[in-house]
Symmetry: C2
Subunit: 321 residues, 2 copies
């Protein structure tokens, strides 16, 4: 009903309650109640005694209706759970994934305006104030857990492409799970799964994008290494549009992985890589490996060539410099 | 208190309630209540008017007290949750692993006399009546998810060694997760984990051993492919002893994996392998691979040499014949 009212309000500058009631076959009191609900959702609607209702602006919120309006995907994001605040979207996504599948079908999205306990890899804190994009996708791929590095890579590719399409800015992927712009972190990815030896039971991909955050908001300890899209462009971006573009790109990449056609995406990954060709220092467990990042193999592992010529295949680690 | 009473009952053929009360500093009524509790736990205790109490037999149950008595491990099995019946020990273990760590510290064991919904790999049913050993171990290794095949392999090695020590019978490991005796399945292993890209959050290893099961009990569809230890030996085994031996062997293997010293255990695995050297047909996802199983690599993957000489590395699959 809310969506129908919005349709009329969008098509016309002013619509009277009487006309809305007639068109939608409900009472004027019911219309008034729906308008009130829309206002509660931060739709700015003014009422003029003679002319009726006028939609002044849509809310700057990641509301499911807003995202799904014109969402160009087959299933990704067709179910969205929305929260004004969560401890972390991954925690909620994991709970949903564990529960019955009808509550969280393939491609279900958890989205929140703010995280109070956002996390990055290995339990590191992730600053997640209002204005950013904090979402998690629930998936049930028929793939072995060995695919998890590839899935992280394709997610990064989808983020880079979505940002590029919206802003024309080229992000670069810092292996394994960060997106950099101007050498600073604009997005992080946290992939989590439940699996047995052969098969992923469920997969949750968490995404944190520094969208409309002012630089001054970043805590001191990450100020030098973080950046937001708003800061780069000197204006707010449409978070709804970015989520839509991401879901579309991600669905494409994910379908390819499921068809075991990851080679093409890995090539794209190489194209956007910030890591390849550099001399890097990587922390792998308790070890530190130093060498040239020469390639990424078909399993999504980074190949590092040490000074003595030895090549190492690294599934995951943290680049120290 | 129960343990203390049992100690006295074991040391002496008969002990009077009066002496027990005096030694343990509680009333005779309290002693009587404890004896009643022990009887409820299937300890067979008779009372003689003049002589006192006599322990006739310990229960044939996998009671934590029984397992922990003389358990020779540093931490494995130091916490045991015991159930007369569960849907599946892995389900309960997963719930505990997800909850606070103090409820399920490293090496916590879930054990049940019977599973109503026991599962093998890929959701296959696992027949789990009374008389078998159905247990799960909860672990938090600081290892990447890529270790899961190796962890399954070392578990198999620990089972084979424990069975050998108790019964002198040499089991063989059918890659990746079954133990065979006389070409029939005597044990299966189900490894499940929660992980992110880098790190296992928690790991649950489920074990099903056909211990004291009569062949007639096996359902028709697995009668030709299953066997029990009781059937092989023509007598009941001590399930408590087998669990103790397994926990000891497993702790040793698991410590080695944590120290990244898996090479030695992989050599043992090869020694007990039913699979290596055979021509096999393996289902890997939707593909079927046919070839000679030539080796297992340091990551725990099976190496198969196809007729055309090509070698494949297989992380997991199902051997069809």
């Amino acid at each position: 009903m809310k969506e129908n009212i919005l349709k009329y309000l969008e098509k016309n500058k002013y619509v009277s309650g009487e006309i809305l009631a007639e068109k939608l076959g409900i009472s004027r009191v019911a219309i008034w109640k729906q308008i009130k609900k829309l206002k509660d959702l931060h739709y700015e609607i003014i009422s003029h005694q003679n002319l009726g209702y006028c939609l002044v602006s849509r809310p700057d919120l990641l509301l499911p209706d807003e995202i799904q309006k014109g969402l160009d995907t087959d299933y990704m994001g067709h179910k969205i759970y929305y929260y004004r605040e969560l401890e972390s979207s991954n925690i909620t996504a994991r709970e949903k994934a564990r529960s019955k599948k009808d509550e969280a079908s393939e491609g279900t999205v958890i989205i929140t305006e703010k995280q109070t306990g956002g996390k990055g890899r290995l339990g590191r804190k992730w600053f997640s104030p209002e204005g950013g994009i904090w979402l998690s996708i629930i998936l049930y791929p028929h793939l072995s857990p060995a695919y998890i590095p590839r899935i992280t890579l394709i997610t990064a590719v989808a983020v880079v492409k979505a940002i590029k399409e919206l802003t024309r800015i080229q992000g670069l992927i810092k292996w394994p799970n960060d997106i950099l712009i101007h050498e600073k972190k604009v997005c992080g990815i946290l992939t989590e799964m439940s699996a047995e030896l052969d098969l992923i039971n469920w997969l949750v991909i968490g995404l944190g994008i520094n969208a409309n955050i002012d630089h001054g908001e970043f805590p001191e300890e990450i100020k030098d290494t973080s950046i937001s899209l708003k800061e780069i462009l000197n204006q707010k971006i449409s978070r709804v549009k970015l989520v839509q573009l991401f879901l579309r790109e991600f669905e494409k990449c994910y379908n390819m992985i499921n068809r075991k056609e990851s080679a093409l995406i890995l090539n794209e990954w190489k194209l956007y890589s910030h890591t390849l060709g550099r001399k890097i220092k990587v922390k792998v467990g308790n070890r530190v490996v130093i060498g040239q990042a020469t390639n990424i193999n078909d399993k999504g592992a980074l190949i590092i060539k040490k000074d003595n010529g030895e090549c190492l295949e690294i599934i995951s680690g943290t680049i120290l410099k």
